[in-house]
Amino acid sequence: MFQLQVVQPSKHRHVIRWVVLGIILLTAPLAGVSAAGPADEGDIDFTQFSLEELKSVKITSASKTPKNLSEIPAAVFVITQDDIRRSGATSIPEALRMAPGVEVARVSATEWAVNMRDLNQLFANKLLVLMDGRSIYSHLASGVFWDIQDTVLEDIDRIEVIRGPGAALWGVNAVNGVINIITKKAADTQGGEVTALGGSEEGIGTLRYGGVFGRDSHYRIYAKYFDRGSLFQSDDPIQDDGVNSDWQSGRGGARMEWKPKDGRDSVFLQGEVFKNRYRAEIPMLAPEAPHIRQIRDTSRAKGGHMLSRWTRTFSEKSDSVLQFFYDYYDKDIDYANVEASTFDLDFQHRFPFRDRHELVWGLNYRLILDNFKNSEETILDPDAETLQYYSAFVQDRIRIFDRLNLTLGAKFEHNDYTRWEIQPSARLLWNLDERHSFWGAVSRAARVPSRVEHDGIVQEVTLPDPSAIGQVPVVYRGMGDNGLNAETLVAYEAGYRFQPASSLWFDTTAFYNDYEDLIAYRYDHDGKIEVEGAPYVIVPLHFDNSLRGESFGIELAAYWQATVFWLLQGSYTFLETNLNPGLLDTGEDETYLIQASNPRNQISIRSALNITSQLELDLWFRYVDRLNENDVDEYASLDARLAYRPTDRLELSVVGQNLLEPRHAEFSSIEVERSIYLKADWCF
């Protein structure tokens, strides 16, 4: 995994052919649609219809209101429930592929690498992820355990993807961006819904029921179970990747909202428990050649959370929110195990001041208790730790002129590892007119070292060259350092949004990120340790802060409601990352090792077509450039979904995923297969 491999000539020509074909396929209906009958509703005068006739008209509304987006001085993209349903995505990371600027790569059956604006890796440590305001970013490895984070996808209201530093509001670790997964209110999930999904890769069942109690309260209860198989493994023997398979997960939860009539208060409670297991293969040292054995093991996880939020509304522009959550998980990590409890108390207050200022301020306290069961490969010292974080933030949105807004904010946060981190930001928004808006921002953000970087000793067994028999295995021993500083970023962003017509809009962003004090393994060439009598060599690696880096890129999103029954959405992402000193051998006696890479170019085009009121056809084409550092080829994929709704309450769909190739690698040598599934969704 650490080895630098020879870069092979790419299969560019083959992929370009797919890109061209994809574009031709997706735009082909233009010819048909433009010839269609009353496609343009512009010539329909609905005052000529009777009330009963009007009730049978299907309404179309732009699901993403660009108007609201044009008020935000940041790169924001919203994935709606409708987007999720029509994409055919069956998990949250898969749905995130829809957002421009986001890199999603399947690492194994149970793992995804999700990041933006930076090298992608299994634990993207500079991306903060929240579910209903609850942080699911793990302090242990600085990242998200995507295998234990899930919910009933049909109950998600929207996923807000905010690219760029959100640190002034969200605090440390919101360096490259923030993803906020927001589920629907219980009042909007009344009645029952059952979904059953089965296909070549997975089976999923969900059940949700929502009701009312008393005059002012709504609730919903839900349960979800899934079973996912293994991904395909390419012919090369895999040295560092346990092949995870037979992944089973069950979760259940409830949500309740209380909102008294005419009251200014509302209270929301939510709780969930989950249990997961999958079969893993873990590489272990063995006395006999080739000195590596794959040991089979069952990896288990369980946990849950409780969240409560009290909102008091004073006026349209003023409210306060008090939120508390408790989150617990217990998860195997190879032969080790971690238990972590998080208690979080958060207060926010928003109010207008004079008539030009909108102020928001807040306080947060977080307590994390963890307990680690060490294994030979992974040791934390101390193995149990109590960490506290407290912070305050303030943000002021100032209306300079009617069309010019300046937002100034800063967060002051204290943590046990690096003490105070101050994260200011300045954002300027200029709404030129109804159709054009510009914004620009400069912000600073910090990422605090993870528990592993601070206290860990992590060993990884590899064969230097998988094809070489008789080679001595190498054990990389990564050692944490409790003197590490936080990684810091200064980001410069600019954006332009253009809406030439109500049915068409474009959103473009350009950014430059300047990173300092990046944490990476330093490898000393003469540091090899030969252990007497042992059939392997130990290479010690030390974490330190000596890496600098930069990334820059362009993100484009386009949305076009071509006709009332046909919607096209596209995005293009360009991203270039440079680290200094680079990942390659610098000729000095030290090398830095990072297991990360990002595609330079990404394209996504989605077409959502309502063939009739009962029949939907969706196509989703994606192109992802090669990962140079991981030596993974570029790939193109096409997902297709056909859905039939015989009644208002029942939807049957068939979805084919990754149709262009039988299998493709996305991050490592483990490959994702072409697949198909059938799904039934019944409301009662």
């Binding site: 209906p29 496609a39 299907k58 009739t612």
Partner: protein
């Protein structure tokens, strides 16, 4: 690796399927009609005006216009301006936008086009005199005292009527309107 020939065959089938479906809408779009949300709402509002009887003292003279006031956080609602100068029951419709804190006294219809409760509740609270037909599009609008409320069911528009609020505003509805309403909140005995 699978042979490219095999792969191409699979793709061809998808391509053919897709291009075929591209022509379908032209053939079948007659069976279901769809329209932009506010264009359809405009049709409804037009009929609400037709089927509502205001108290006689509402209008200064027999030819004074019907004032349709729009308070919105949704720019798409500007679509309702195409009702400007349409004539209903001998009166011209005059559409105007209402800014925050502006008096509603001249309005006969108040359409609050917003799903933001913190905007809707205070705007509705500004209604201080009878003779105003308030129309909303947010859950609980009739409970707040609104008269007619739009809601969406499976992508189709429906509306509910609060007869209590209508009565205290001195408004009378014809039976066509009440028959088409999905929910009619009767007087609580």
């Amino acid at each position: 690796m699978i042979s490219t020939g095999h792969r191409r065959a699979g793709l061809k089938i998808w391509a053919i399927l897709f291009c075929l479906t591209a022509w379908l809408p032209g053939v079948v779009s007659g069976e279901t009609l769809s329209g932009a949300e506010y264009k359809v709402k405009l049709g409804f509002v037009y009929h609400f005006i037709r089927f509502t009887q205001w108290p006689p003292e509402t209008f200064p003279s027999s030819d004074s216009p019907i004032n349709l006031c729009i308070a919105s956080t949704n720019p798409a609602a500007d679509m309702l301006f195409s009702l400007q100068d349409r004539v209903v029951k001998g009166r011209r419709i005059d559409v105007r936008k209402i800014a925050a804190d502006e008096s509603l006294d001249a309005c006969q219809i108040l359409f609050i086009a917003s799903d933001d409760e913190t905007f809707v509740a205070p705007t509705l609270g500004m209604v201080r005199k009878p003779g105003i037909l308030s129309i909303g599009e947010i859950k609980g609008f009739t409970r707040m005292g609104g008269v007619i409320n739009f809601f969406v069911n499976r992508n189709q528009l429906r509306f509910e009527v609060n007869l209590d609020a209508a009565e205290s505003a001195g408004l009378k509805f014809s039976s066509q309107l009440l028959m088409s309403a999905d929910i009619v909140q009767k007087r609580e005995e």
